[in-house]
Amino acid sequence: MKRSLDAADERELVRRVARGDRRAFDELYRRTAPWLETRLRRRCADPDMVADVLQETYLAVWRAAASFAGDEVKGSAVGWLWTIAAHRLVDAFRRRARQAELPAVHPHETFVPAAEDEVMAARVGQELEQALSVLPPEAREVLRATVLDGFSIRETSVLLGVPENTVKSRIRRARIALREALS
């Protein structure tokens, strides 16, 4: 039994969790929690918040594994874990933003839209990773949140504490800078 757990990959573990297998859940936690914790900690300095997000994420995995495994959803179990954690992280940031102060009612700031072109490729590869170093830190930050972590523009705005339109303009600028660096 122990051996079969060792041999199972994360996908198989999630499938067993879906059947209510507590040991498979513990194994999944043992294997993935250090990775998830490290990744979260790089995005959130507050260890209590990281602990909360970690706990909520794995509870959600325990509770929703059946519908994830059952619907034959394509995609990796580890990627699924990250998606859950990412949304919970934004929720935690929302909670903190609210506790800090009640947000004033403000209209979105108004800008003239800049004309822009192509879609940023999902698969960027080594080159892009190298080119990242030429970007200013705040541009790297938005690219990491949107492209690498899969956050929406809105979520990125909550996470970084800057208005949505600022996130958008930083992405546009980052894209132009990257294109120059890559050409």
């Binding site: 059947r19 929690a33 990744r39 602990a51 970690l54 706990q55 790297r140 690498l148």
Partner: protein
């Protein structure tokens, strides 16, 4: 990605080394999401603080899981959620329709002197099902559903198709069983009436449209035909072409009214 990052890089990442440059972190994170071996290596290099946090959360999880209900098993025998409401809402109406058709066929068999009952009621056969498919009464979540992006003509047509998929074969079988009833005259009028219900329904609500059309047809065609014991001219074999044309025109008009199926008024 086949090239694994160095253990030193993983250790520095795990230790939250701020000196690690962004490009390395980026490629590490991409790699770690895909590589179980490197995740295991990472687990060996985490800081004491991280390990303590992970243990603490593990204990919390133990407590929460023990307190909460066991996760629901997936029930394989249940149809997909999105089809299930249809079974509950449509089946009663469709089975009622089929029994009425069967009764009409029997009646025609016993009283050959009267005009074919089956032929007279066939045009109305899909209407109870169609009315149930897009109705406030048959679909309790109508207001929720009406506000979703999926609501609209496509959804109405999909539900109507589900009704027709059950009713049309029943009509065809009944038509073939009763000798002398042309199948085209069994099917075409029912399609025309389905289209008319949807078109009228876009203005006044599908259910009301179905009820209205059933009333009009009964009063204007079924009752007089039974009174004079003669099939009306609209159900003579020669009218089949007209029915086909009417169906086509009505169907085309429905598409012009497509946007009204996104609002509550069509319910």
């Amino acid at each position: 990605m086949t090239t694994h990052p160095t253990l030193a890089a993983i250790d520095r990442y795990a230790a939250a080394d701020p000196g690690l440059d962004e490009a390395t972190v980026w490629s590490l994170e991409v790699h770690l999401e895909e590589c179980a071996d490197c995740r295991a290596r990472l687990a060996g290099g985490t800081t004491d603080g991280s390990r303590a946090l992970i243990d603490r959360v593990a204990q919390e999880l133990d407590r929460e899981i023990a307190a909460g209900p066991a996760p629901a098993r997936r029930r394989w025998f249940r149809p997909a959620v999105r089809h299930r409401w249809a079974v509950a809402a449509l089946l009663p109406w469709v089975s009622m329709t089929i029994s009425v058709l069967a009764a009409a066929a029997l009646l025609g068999h016993w009283m050959p002197s009267l005009p074919s009952f089956v032929l007279l009621v066939a045009p109305l056969a899909p209407l109870p099902g169609v009315a149930a498919a897009w109705s406030r009464r048959a679909d309790p979540a109508w207001e929720l559903i009406a506000g979703t992006p999926a609501a609209g003509l496509t959804m109405v047509l999909r539900r109507t198709a589900a009704v027709l998929a059950l009713v049309i074969p029943a009509l065809a079988v009944t038509g073939m069983a009763g000798a002398g009833t042309p199948t085209a005259l069994m099917l075409l009028p029912s399609l025309a009436f389905t289209a008319a219900t949807l078109l009228l329904g876009s203005l006044i609500g599908v259910r009301r449209a179905a009820l209205g059309l059933m009333g009009v047809w009964t009063a204007a065609v079924v009752a007089p035909s039974l009174a004079v014991a003669e099939l009306p001219v609209v159900l003579e074999p020669a009218s089949a072409g007209v029915w086909a044309a009417v169906t086509a025109v009505l169907a085309a008009l429905i598409f012009l009214r497509a946007d009204s199926f996104r609002r509550l008024t069509s319910y």
